[in-house]
Structure formats: C-alpha cells, structure tokens
C-alpha cells in the first residue's frame, strides 16, 4: 500500500472510531448533567484553539500573513452582526486583497 493510501485508511478509521465512540458505547443513555455541560463546552474551546492554529500556524512555525487580516475582517463582520455569508466573503476578500498588495 502506498504511503498516501496508508494515511487515508489510518486517518479515516481513527476518525470513524473517534466520532462513533460515545454514540456506540453510551447508547441513548442521558449523561449526568455535569458531564453533559463539560462536553458541550469542550468543543467550542477546541474550536477556538483551531482558529489560532489556522490563522497563524504554518507547518512548523508561526506565520503572520494575509490570513490574519482575513480573520480580523471576519471578526469585525461578526461584531456588526453581518450574515454568515458576508462574514466568509469578507474574510476571503480581505485576505486576497492583502495577499495581492504584499
């Protein structure tokens, strides 16, 4: 098996297992409320970490590039309560503009 397919199979199998772990093992049982609150709060916290990684993350280092301007534009649009589509187009538009200017 080539390296590529090995990665596709391993990452795919791991992701299926991670997503399905609780639904298969827990069944439809309701969680104790404290645990339910933690699981509900965990995903957004991890999403916040992903925002940082994907804004300034490079393969092995931090990089300040047009993505930062694009995400800043998205933040402003969100503060102005713009519709999601406007937020997304603003982020790409500003990042593309800064990319063209630098």
């Amino acid at each position: 098996m080539s390296t590529t397919w090995l990665i596709v199979v391993l990452v795919g199998a791991a992701t299926v297992a991670l997503k399905g772990l609780a639904p298969v093992l827990l069944g439809a049982r309701e969680l104790p409320p404290p645990l339910a609150r933690v699981s509900g709060a965990l995903a957004p916290a991890l999403l916040a970490a992903l925002v940082v990684v994907q804004t300034v993350g490079d393969a092995q280092a931090l990089s300040v590039d047009p993505r930062v301007a694009g995400v800043a534009a998205a933040a402003v649009a969100l503060l102005l309560r713009a519709p999601l589509l406007v937020v997304l187009v603003a982020s790409a538009g500003v990042a593309a503009t800064v990319n063209a200017l630098t």
Binding site: T4, L6, I7, V8, L10, V11, G12, A14, T15, V16, L18, K19, G20, L21, A22, P23, V24, L26, G27, A28, R29, L31, A36, R37, S39, G40, L42, A43, P44, L46, L47, A48, L50, V51, V52, Q54, T55, A59, Q60, D65, P66, G70, V71, A73, A74, L78, P83, L84, L85, V87, L88, A90, S91, A92, V94, A95, A96, T97, N99, A100
Partner: protein
C-alpha cells in the same frame, strides 16, 4: 441560521430539510475549503482519487488539511496520522454530546454519528440538546459540499493556482470563529 442567531426561537425547523437549509451558508464555505484541500492534497502528491476518498470517509477538514500538509512537507506517515488524530480528538466530546439524540442499533448510531462535524453540530443545537434530524440534514449537505469541493480542487486545481491568492486559506479560521461567535446559548 435562525437557530444559531436565536437559540430559543420557537419557529426553528426541526426537520432534516430545515437543517439542510440552515447550513447552506456554511456549506458554501465547506465547498471553497474543500477546493483548497483538493489543491493542497494534489500538490502533496496524494493524487486525485485518494483525497476524494478521504473527504468521503474522514469528513473532517482540519485533520485532512493537517495530514496533507505533513505529507506536502515530506513528513513521516506516523506524523501525518498523529497530527490528524490529535485534531480529531475533539470529536470524542462532540460524540458524547450527540450520543443521546441518536437512534437505533449500534451500526445505525455509528453511521449517523459520522455526519457530526463542527458545523453540523453547531447547526443542530436545540434547547441544550442536539436535534438528530437537523444534524443529519446539515451533515449530508456538508458532506456533498465538502466532497464536491475536493473533486474540483483535486481535478482542476492546477488551473486555479494557489488558494491563498483568493483568500481561501483565511475562510477556514473565519468559519470556525463564526461557529464560536454564533454559538447557541446554553439554556438558562
């Protein structure tokens, strides 16, 4: 969008169609990010078919991007898999949150749980729970958008060039920022 903007709205459409409709703006982003992934994966030497299969089976953008980036930089298989798995550990938490809403036997619950993504999970929040119908409707639309984008990027990417030219690379963190900002309130 209504459920994300007005978490306690009573006029939320709690059907698969409702979830499918409300996820539309996010699906647009998933399509564009899918194009970026297709281009990145092809540049990383993954070919055309493998990235498409990966989008259909792994169906988790950030992990796929991470694995393709490691491959692009000539990293080891173990490094690529580890990067993807670490990013996807959050799906254990999402799975815990989704579990009580799913139905049926284990095989069916496993299948339905695969439609949980950051985006479909956010869209399906309903009065402190996950609404199964909205999760499935939104998840299916996202799967189609994400895979279609991957096909376009992997097949036609060379004509498009660098995704950064179009600011596509900023759209991914912007989407996650929006998911956090528009996150439904927890019930009082």
């Amino acid at each position: 969008m209504s459920i994300m903007m007005e978490p306690n709205a009573i006029n939320v459409d709690r059907t698969m169609l409702g979830g499918a409709r409300d996820v539309a703006p996010i699906a647009f982003a998933a399509l564009v990010i899918g194009v970026s992934f297709g281009i990145l994966a092809r540049d990383a030497g993954m070919g055309v078919v493998a990235p498409i299969v990966m989008s259909l089976t792994t169906f988790a953008g950030s992990a796929q991007m991470a694995a393709a980036t490691v491959m692009h930089d000539g990293g080891a298989v173990a490094a690529a898999v580890a990067a993807a798995v670490l990013l996807n550990l959050r799906y254990v938490a999402i799975g815990v949150s989704v579990a009580p809403s799913l139905r049926g036997r284990r095989a069916r619950r496993l299948a339905e749980s695969q439609l949980a993504t950051d985006e479909s999970w956010a869209i399906s929040q309903d009065r402190g729970r996950v609404n199964r119908e909205r999760l499935i409707g939104a998840g299916l639309v996202l799967l189609v958008a994400w895979t279609t984008g991957t096909v376009a990027g992997a097949v036609g990417g060379s004509a498009l060039g660098d995704p950064a030219t179009y600011g596509f690379d900023a759209m991914f963190p912007a989407l996650f920022l929006a998911l956090i900002a528009l996150r439904p309130e927890r019930p009082a």
